[in-house]
Symmetry: C2
Subunit: 339 residues, 2 copies
Amino acid sequence: MAQKLTLKKIAQDLNVSISTVSKALRDSHEISVETRDKIKDYAKKYNYKPNNIALSLKNQKTKKIGIIIPEIVHHFFATVISGIEKVANEKGYQVIICLSGESFDKEVVNMDMLANGSIDGFIMSLSKETLERQDFHHLREVLNQGMPIVMFDRVVDSIACDKIIIDDVAAAQSATDFLLRKGKKNLGIISTVDYVNVGKLRTQGFKDALLKRGIKFKESSVLRIEDAENCTKSIEKFLKQGNYDGVVAVNELFAVTASKALKKMGKSIPDDVAIIAFTDGMLSKYASPTLTTIGQKGEDMGGLAAAKLIERLESKHDMEESYETVIVKTSLVERESTP
Amino acid sequence: MAQKLTLKKIAQDLNVSISTVSKALRDSHEISVETRDKIKDYAKKYNYKPNNIALSLKNQKTKKIGIIIPEIVHHFFATVISGIEKVANEKGYQVIICLSGESFDKEVVNMDMLANGSIDGFIMSLSKETLERQDFHHLREVLNQGMPIVMFDRVVDSIACDKIIIDDVAAAQSATDFLLRKGKKNLGIISTVDYVNVGKLRTQGFKDALLKRGIKFKESSVLRIEDAENCTKSIEKFLKQGNYDGVVAVNELFAVTASKALKKMGKSIPDDVAIIAFTDGMLSKYASPTLTTIGQKGEDMGGLAAAKLIERLESKHDMEESYETVIVKTSLVERESTP
DNA sequence: TTGTAAGCGTTATCAG
DNA sequence: CTGATAACGCTTACAA
C-alpha cells in the first residue's frame, strides 16, 4: 500500500529541498536541467500528483462548483446536471451535488456546509418549501460573503444574481396557442400550486393566450396539483368535469396521467382531446401516444449556468453588480398527442 | 461584502491568541468561562464557521465521497445517487459526482483528479468502454494508495473491493420462469453486447431458465444491442423473425421499444406477447401498457454502497482484505404487460 | 488560564 | 542554481 507521494517525500528521497522539487516540477528556469530532470523522472516514475486540498488552501479556490437541486431523479434536473458537469469539466472544475429533497432546512444545511470553503460558487434551483416560505436568508448570506450564485429554473426576483430560465409565460402561451390553432376550443391546464413559480407563470401564459384570442378564461379550467404522487384521482375528476378538447400540462407526469385517464374515458388522442406538455423527457418520447412537448433544454441551461458561474469566478471581480438573466429558448417538439 | 471570518481574525479582534479561540470554540476546559463565552458570543454573532479545506488538510480526510458513473440521465443511476446522497448526508459526508459518459479516458481522468486528496473514497459503476477494454489499472492504483472503492452494478471480479450488485443471473432466470409459468412457450431476450456484464449475466439467466425446464435454447432468440439510441429497427426485425409469445428485456427502454413494435405489428400485449423488463423506472410505470419489471432497488443499492464505504473509512483499518459482495434482492413488480 | 509552535502539502518570496 | 521561510486556516502538544 504505497502511501501518497508528496513533495516532502520526494525531497527527502532525492536529498534536495522541498522548494527545489516544487520548482522543478513546475519547470522553473531557476533549476538546473540535471536536477530538474532527475526530479521529474522520479515524480513520473512514482506517479506524483499534487494534493488538491493543499492547493485549494493555498490558492483560496477549490475549482469545485456546488449544485443544490430538489431531486436528482427528475429527468429535467438530471439533464441540467449533465450540462453543468460537461462544461465544468472542460474548464477544469468538478461538481459537488447536494439534494434538498424539496426541504428548506436541508437546503440551508447543505448550503452552509458547502459555503465553508468546499466550493467556489453555487448553481441552484430552489426547493418548493423555500419558495413557499419566501425565506432566502441563506442565499443572501452566501452572496454577502462574495460567493457567486447562479440560479436556474426555480428562481426568485428578489435575489440579485445571475439566472438561467426559460420564458415560462411565453412558452405556455405558445403551447396554448398551438392547441387553439389546431382548432381546439375548450382548453384546460394541469398545473402546480401557485408558490411554485414556474407553475404560476405557465398558468399565466395559458390565460394570456386565451384572452388574446378573445376567449374567456374560467378559473375552473385550472387544476393546481399539490401532491404529484397522488394526482390521478384529481386529474380524472378535472377532465371529466371540464370535458376539454385540449389540455396543457406543466410537466410530463401530469400529461401521461391525463392521457391515461382520457383513454380510460374512451376519448381518443389527439382527435377528441389534444395534449401538450412541458419538459421533453423520457416519458413524452415513449408514452403511447407519444407526447407533444415544450422542450426545456435542460442540458443547455446547465451548460450556460456553468459557463456563467465560471466566467464570474475567473473574472478579476470587475463584473460586479451587473447580473444577467439568460432566457433560454424553448422548442416545440411535435408528436402524436396533438393533431 | 463581509469577508469570511477566520480564527485569526477573531483572535485579532478580541486580542487573544488563535489557539485560545480554537480551544474556546471547541469547549475546552482549559479556557476560562469568561473568555470562552466572549469568544463564542463573538463567533455566533458574526456567524463563524470553520473552513472545511483547512480541516481536510489537517485531518487528512475530506468527508467527501467520489461517485463515478456512466450517465446521470439514466433513471437507475439517478436513484442510486439519491440513495448514496441520503445515507452519506446522514453521516456527515458529501458527494462529488463525475460522469464518465461511458468513456474509459474520462473515467480515468476523473478518477485521478478526485484521488488527489479531494475525497476519502469512491463509489462507482464502470463505463462500457472500460468493461470492453478490461483495463482496470486506475482502480488498482487507487486501491493501492489505500483509498477504498465500492463498486455497484457494473463490477468486475478481478478487482478486490466491496461490491453491491443484484443477482442478475437469478433475477433473469426468475423473470424468464415467470413468463413460462404464465404459459408462454417461445421466448426471446433483448440484451446488450456481452462485454456489459449485466447483459451477459441476464442472458445467462434466461438460458438457464429455459434449460431447467427442458426447453432448448437457440442463439437466435438473443438480440444483443450495441447502440441503444438506434435500436428500433433491430428490435422490430428480431420480433418479426422470432414470432415470440414472451419477451425479456434487460432494460426499460428496450422493453417499451419492443412494446411499441409489437403493437405496430398488431399483436396484443400481454395476450399475444408478454413482456418483462429489468429496471423499475418511470417508463415502466407510465408506458401503455404498463410494464411488469424486475425492480433493481437503485436507492437501496446506493444506500448500501455508501454505508459500506463509510464503515470502511471510519473503521481503524482493521477490516483489511475482507471484502464483501452484497447481493441486493430484486423485486418482481407485476403490471399489465404480463398476464 | 493563555500563548507558542509545529504540522497538514503547496507555492512564492527572498537569501544564500 | 538551491534552500529556508512564510503563508493559506486549523488543531494540538507543549511552554509559560
